[in-house]
């Protein structure tokens, strides 16, 4: 009696009933996933997203003209400044065409600190979440250190690392470290205990579990931590670069303040905002790729 011959007719029937059972939900899922999303809805989404920023620009313009203030430039003035900052050729001062170097320095520091934070935070989080002894040893200390605002570390960080980029990187590291660590720990703790049992009865145990179960199961939470960490990193780079660093977007904003060049300040703010946004979208793309198995993680 061959297995194929005896099993498959029943299987076919069972598969048929199974697909009947899922039939009502399946099309809906495809539609919301937007696999074949056409151009129309996408344009609509872009249009809707652009309305508020355009409105704010308009309001800004109107308010500056109405009050006649000289402290805040018009949006058009900032646009000119931005062009000069990026490509030069208009004001020909110290900032003309210097965007690439400032931008590059900040990006290096942000990602340097961020990657260090991920490199320490993720493995440490996996172990704290999984090894009770380690948790008992580290949890109290980490909980004590956590409420201290990262900016409060600035003076100490300047003592440790001197005036300069290193202390900025350290602040970025601290700022990104906690969200990454805490989300990783949370992710590990909330792994369904059944999955460990399933892995155990299939012969996977000990350190193997970290790669086979703990890491993938905690991944959604880890990505939340990475996104939070990256946004804190961009916040802290400005603080870090405000003292004793000649180059970087934070330094530019600080210079703009001392020179009373508000157009430069706003230019720096906008560039940081856009870069932070793009870097978050990149993380979302990565997360969508790595979490393609999870129905609820298609941001």
């Amino acid at each position: 009696m061959s297995l194929q011959g005896t099993v498959s007719p029943q299987l076919d029937r069972a598969v048929a009933t199974a697909s009947v059972a899922t039939a009502p939900t399946a099309p809906a899922r495809v539609a919301t996933r937007g696999r074949g999303r056409s151009l129309g809805p996408r344009l609509r989404a872009v249009a809707l997203a652009v309305v508020v920023p355009l409105g704010l620009l308009l309001l800004w313009d109107v308010l500056v003209r109405w009050t006649g203030t000289r402290l805040v430039p018009l949006p058009s003035g900032v646009a000119v400044m931005m062009w000069d900052f990026a490509f030069g050729g208009i004001y020909d001062d110290a900032y003309s065409g210097s965007l690439p170097i400032h931008f590059w320095k900040s990006v290096q520091r942000v990602y340097g600190g961020f990657f260090c934070a991920a490199l320490v935070g993720i493995p440490l989080g996996l172990m704290i979440g999984r090894i009770p002894l380690l948790r008992a040893m580290l949890d109290p200390t980490l909980s004590l250190l956590r409420p201290i605002p990262v900016t409060a570390w600035l003076p100490l960080s300047m003592i440790f690392f001197g005036l300069g980029p290193k202390s900025a990187v350290f602040l970025v590291f601290l700022g990104a470290f906690y969200p990454i660590l805490l989300n990783t720990v949370f992710g590990v703790k909330s792994v369904d205990a059944r999955l460990f049992e399933a892995a155990g009865m299939l012969g996977c145990r000990g350190p193997q579990l970290f790669r086979a179960v703990v890491l993938p199961a905690a991944l959604p939470s880890i990505f939340n931590g990475l996104r939070l960490g990256a946004s804190f990193a961009w916040i802290l780079i400005v603080v870090g670069e405000m003292t004793g660093v000649p180059e970087g977007l934070g330094a530019v904003i600080m210079d703009g303040r001392t020179l009373s060049r508000t157009d430069l300040v706003i230019t720096g703010m906008i560039i940081i905002g856009v870069t932070g946004f793009v870097s978050d979208r990149l993380l979302v793309l990565l997360s969508n790729y790595f979490l393609r198995w999870s129905p609820q993680h298609h941001a």
């Binding site: 199974a18 059972a21 899922t22 999955l195 009865m201 012969g203």
Partner: protein, 272 residues
């Protein structure tokens, strides 16, 4: 033709549960879930553990699986005392417990790929068991893209691919609709006949127990213990509508309910 029940008496004992007791340390005091349970299972047998919910079926199965430590007595597989989960005993959970980040194929290959087996061998094994449960066409799907019945097939194939001797199933079809459930029951019997597995199947449905089992082990609560065992000598495939089937079913139901007095209004016969 080959009826596995024919040579059962001579088959070697594969599992021996002796005087098993379990007391949980719950936050509101100790809970005695199991007391003095004895069970002997021979190789190739299909056993159903039957009882009302809360009578300790899962506890017994989980101790056999090695997920839970007994507070009294012992469990031995092939004469060796069980301490901890092992690939010789494969568990199929009611809620599937598939790895959601792995595809059907990778889930089935999970056990073999974590032993020292060449990737080619793993692929061959996976292929074989995927075909056995009829999921070859769904190899690259993730669990969330499968129906409940398909998920449970993956869970069964995952255990078979890992070369388990004893299949432990804790109300595996409890969450499925009636059509899918009866299809899977038939498939399970077919798999059992062809693979010569030993199956311990937990259910609270008398009909399911009488339909599947060589031997129905009836459990009662307060604290959980094994009340009696009923041999099911009906020929397979079994006819649910036959007089013999229904007589046996009534008999088992009577044994089950005779212990559920007025103090326990839990309806164990709600399956019909």
């Amino acid at each position: 033709m080959l009826d596995p029940t024919a040579s059962r008496g001579a088959a070697p004992v594969i599992l021996e549960v002796r005087d098993l007791g379990k007391v949980y340390d719950a936050s509101n005091g100790p809970v005695e879930a199991l007391r003095g349970a004895n069970l002997t299972v021979r190789k190739g047998e299909f056993i159903c553990l039957l009882g009302a919910s809360g009578c300790g079926k899962s506890t017994l199965l989980r101790i056999v699986a090695g997920f839970e430590q007994a507070t009294q007595g012992s469990v031995a597989v092939y004469g060796c005392e069980v301490d901890g989960p092992g690939p010789d005993r494969g568990m199929v959970f009611q809620d599937y417990a598939l790895f959601p980040w792995l595809t059907v194929e990778q889930n089935i290959g999970f056990g073999p790929s974590h032993r020292r087996i060449a990737p080619k061998e793993v692929a061959k094994l996976t292929e074989k068991f995927m075909a056995m449960v009829g999921l070859t066409a769904f190899a690259d799907r993730y669990p969330h893209q499968l129906s409940g019945g398909m998920k449970q097939r993956v869970a069964i194939a995952r255990v078979l691919a890992n070369d388990a001797d004893i299949l432990l199933m804790d109300e595996p079809f409890g969450a499925l609709d009636a059509l899918t459930r009866s299809a899977l029951q038939e498939e399970l019997i077919e798999l059992w006949r062809t693979t010569k597995l030993t199956v311990i199947f937990v259910t609270h449905s008398v009909e399911e127990a009488v339909l599947l089992a060589d031997r129905v082990v009836v459990m009662t609560a307060g604290p959980g213990r094994i009340d009696c065992e009923v041999e099911v000598d009906l020929p397979r495939p079994r006819d649910v509508a036959s007089v013999e089937f229904n007589a046996l079913r009534r008999d088992v139901t009577r044994r089950l309910t005779s212990h559920i007095g007025g103090s326990r209004p839990v309806a164990a016969t709600a399956d019909s």
